[in-house]
Symmetry: C2
């Protein structure tokens, strides 16, 4: 298995933990030695592993949690760090996700996650939208 395949497998493990509402699987996926961080949609960054795991437990156990699936994964390996970009589809809402992994004790483990709601799902525009105000 190439590093890219292994990273994409780790990325699938993240979404399986989400789908199965399994905080233990989520915990196993996140790095234990490297510094971790997480930006849930609309939240300020979380920088502490215990706080991040607590946030996932709340999210995975929330009765109102919706089913979500992942598509369009793109992986890039930079030595012992790897980035996966993908779309998270949850009913009518699509999020663009950044998932960062490092190689730790022979395993690709997550060190960072950020998700942003996006206006345009899998069908991409021919050219990027022209922003009005930003950034």
């Amino acid at each position: 298995m190439t590093d890219l395949d292994a990273v994409l497998t780790a990325n699938r493990t993240f979404y399986q933990a989400f789908a199965l509402r399994n905080p233990d699987a989520m915990d196993r996926l996140w790095a234990r030695e490297a510094a971790v961080s997480c930006i849930h949609p609309g939240w300020p960054p979380l920088l502490d592993r215990a706080v991040i795991m607590g946030s996932w437990r709340n999210i995975l156990h929330a009765p109102s949690a919706l089913a979500m699936h992942c598509g369009g994964s793109q992986g890039r390996v930079y030595g012992t760090t790897a980035l996966v970009l993908c779309e998270e589809i949850m009913e009518e809402t699509v999020f663009a996700a950044t998932n960062l992994f490092v190689l730790e004790q022979g395993q690709w483990r997550m060190v960072h996650h950020q998700a942003t709601p996006i206006a345009v799902p899998t069908a991409r525009p021919a050219s990027p939208p022209r922003p009005q105000h930003l950034h």
Copy 2:
């Protein structure tokens, strides 16, 4: 200068290019050999360097572009890759940003940027907000 200092300097260069509306400085900051990607708020991921640079030219030259400054930077170095998290403050709106850099020809160069509007600016809550639906 430590790697962490150098990465935080590279991160400041990103926001200086933004403040000075300088697309050439922005171009110089982004990696030329490593794969790059960018997720502007609300956009699908951009995965092509020329498209990303075109998006920055549009953003930096937009007459309606607002002033923006960066605060609360937190850097993490993972070997020859480094992550900087920070807040981008633009009038009433605060974005949480993920900026990823790789060491390329002795320089820390940007390979990925994502920004998400967040509800809570620099004054952090004592505990993370409890999400309603997600994620």
